[in-house]
């Protein structure tokens, strides 16, 4: 069987035609941002002898009197209201530990999940013992951040019908800084698949569920085989996401959709997205800006 091979080469950096290299205020650790004491220091900075110094490499963001430095790549820093996709790592007493690409594992309390049937009652000892029947180690869930503990760990909840255990689909792990903050992170794309853009950089692609009158509160995960056309759509979407991420473009439903539509012209293999196709997609994407 003939195999296609490509050796690693340096990627030609493609820049926008109107790339404004001057608009960036890029600093490195140890750079003095300002000696003016009137500014408040935000994330990514520290004060060294009355001088505001950067502690990460990134761009300086100034909001009125607050100066912070946003690094290019960072772990997820959750805020209340963020939608996250995470994986259960531990089942403890009365809570689950969820890995969400942040600096500490997030916590999903037993009292923060919906019981089957949607009952609202006090969690009993029996509920504690049957925790594992609901969520086990390795399960994927979608949840929302309820609060942040003092040490920075997130407390999640799945108290709405749209959150809960995720069934069949594809998980794409990207950097949190590439996900755009929007009103809703759950989208049913017209191409026939659905997407959850977690703020923590985990993106979940799944086939659009058919008619479901009663959402079982995230308990019910359909194990019916997914059709081939759905699988192709999801694979193509995954390649689009990887292509967009490789070029550091912001991800939101419209950008993913445009990328998908431009990719329909190319017959890419299900599992790979070559550099040439990526570059073409990139060119099409830049027309958005």
């Amino acid at each position: 069987m003939a195999v296609d091979m490509r050796l690693p080469t340096v990627k030609n950096s493609m820049s926008l035609s109107h790339s404004a290299a001057d608009r960036k205020d890029l600093v490195v650790p140890g750079d003095v941002i300002t000696s003016d004491t009137g500014f408040m220091r935000g994330h990514g900075t520290y004060v060294d002898e009355d001088k505001l110094t950067a502690s990460v490499a990134g761009e300086v963001q100034r909001v009125d009197k607050l100066i912070c430095v946003r690094p290019l790549k960072t772990r997820f820093n959750g805020e209340v209201g963020d939608v996250v996709v995470g994986r259960i790592t531990e089942v403890q007493q009365k809570r689950w530990k969820v890995e969400t690409n942040s600096r500490l594992d997030s916590v999903l309390l037993l009292s923060s999940v919906n019981l089957p049937g949607g009952e609202l009652r006090r969690r009993s000892a029996e509920d504690e013992l049957t925790m594992r029947e609901y969520l086990q180690e390795g399960d994927l869930i979608s949840a929302e951040v309820q609060s942040v503990f003092s040490d920075g760990a997130l407390s999640l909840h799945t108290r709405s019908l749209k959150y809960g255990k995720l069934g069949q689909g594809v998980l794409v792990q990207l950097s949190p800084s590439l996900i755009k903050r929007q009103k809703t992170h759950f989208h049913n794309l017209p191409c026939g698949a659905s997407i959850i853009l977690g703020n923590n950089g985990f993106v979940w692609l799944y086939p659009t569920p058919g008619q479901q009158e009663e959402e079982a509160g995230g308990f019910y995960t359909s194990l019916e085989p997914v059709s081939l056309s759905d699988r192709e759509v999801i694979s193509r979407l995954r390649n689009c996401l990887l292509a967009l991420a490789a070029h550091k473009m912001l991800l939101y439903d419209t950008s993913v959709l445009y990328c998908y539509e431009s990719s329909l012209q190319h017959q890419v293999g299900i599992t790979r997205c070559s550099a040439e196709v990526q570059n073409v997609l990139y060119k099409e994407e830049t027309k958005l800006y």
């Binding site: 490195v28 140890g30 990134g58 530990k97 550091k248």
Partner: protein, 245 residues
């Protein structure tokens, strides 16, 4: 060996450098997509690869977690093909453990660990080709990797190995010089403030020469920091395109 002088009369070393010249430094950041931060650095013929994971939840024993800051976990290892003779034990031997401890000490001085209580930061460094100055190259590579991971640091950490021959300090020793009986000193520095993170020497040196040697090391480290600075800025420029809407 006859005819091999570490410092000739005209002031040239074995590889043709002057006494204060560093070897050529080439580096690249973000070589691995899977890790939080990664960097590859070459200093002459010494090549090192550094990978950083974190900050993340403590793995293994929870009891080792510190309530007020992050734990830095370093591992130094050499590839089996990195030395002239195939290395039998790439890691776990005494030298590697000592190096790992030194790296941990160095980075605890620079990384702002108090921002991440109960977390763990892993720094793994692997020497792909060893030609002297292993510790220094590791520190330089790890600095770039930590910056790539977006972990806050007070300043760069730059390191250099210097030796003393014929009343002259030699900057950035190569393997032939290190094994040629030169008193070598490794120094890790935070360049902007001139603060020393680690000094290590296990050779004999007259105490009168110590001051000169440390001065030479600090100058060499500052030169290294300039090169690393360029690399980081170049990388920032390339990767920050289109990150904004």
């Amino acid at each position: 060996m006859a005819g091999l002088e570490l410092l000739s009369d005209q002031g040239y070393r074995l590889d043709g450098r002057k006494s204060t010249e560093l070897r050529k430094v080439q580096a690249r950041m973000g070589v691995f997509a899977q890790a939080d931060g990664s960097a590859y650095l070459e200093q002459g013929n010494t090549k090192a690869l550094a990978v950083v994971y974190g900050p993340h939840e403590m793995r293994g024993s929870r009891s080792r977690a510190l309530h007020d800051r992050a734990v830095i976990n370093c591992q130094y290892s050499m590839a089996t093909f990195s030395t002239a003779e195939r290395k039998r034990r790439p890691h776990g031997d005494r030298k590697s453990t000592e190096m790992s401890l030194h790296l941990k000490q160095t980075f605890e001085a620079a990384v702002m660990t108090q921002l991440f209580p109960r977390s763990q930061i892993d720094i793994y460094v692997k020497i792909l080709q060893s030609d002297g100055g292993n510790y220094s190259v590791c520190v330089n590579a790890a600095t770039l990797a930590v910056i790539d991971a977006g972990i806050p640091m007070r300043d760069y950490v730059c390191a250099c190995t210097v030796g003393f021959v014929d009343e002259t300090p030699l900057a950035d020793l190569c393997y032939a010089e290190e094994s040629g009986g030169v008193s070598s000193l490794a120094l890790a520095l935070l360049p902007r403030g001139g603060q020393i993170a680690l000094v290590q020497m296990d050779a004999r040196l007259h105490q009168d020469h110590l001051g000169t040697l440390i001065e030479a090391a600090m100058t060499a480290c500052k030169c290294v920091s300039k090169v690393l600075d360029e690399v980081v800025r170049q990388h920032l420029q390339e990767t920050s395109v289109l990150s904004r809407e």
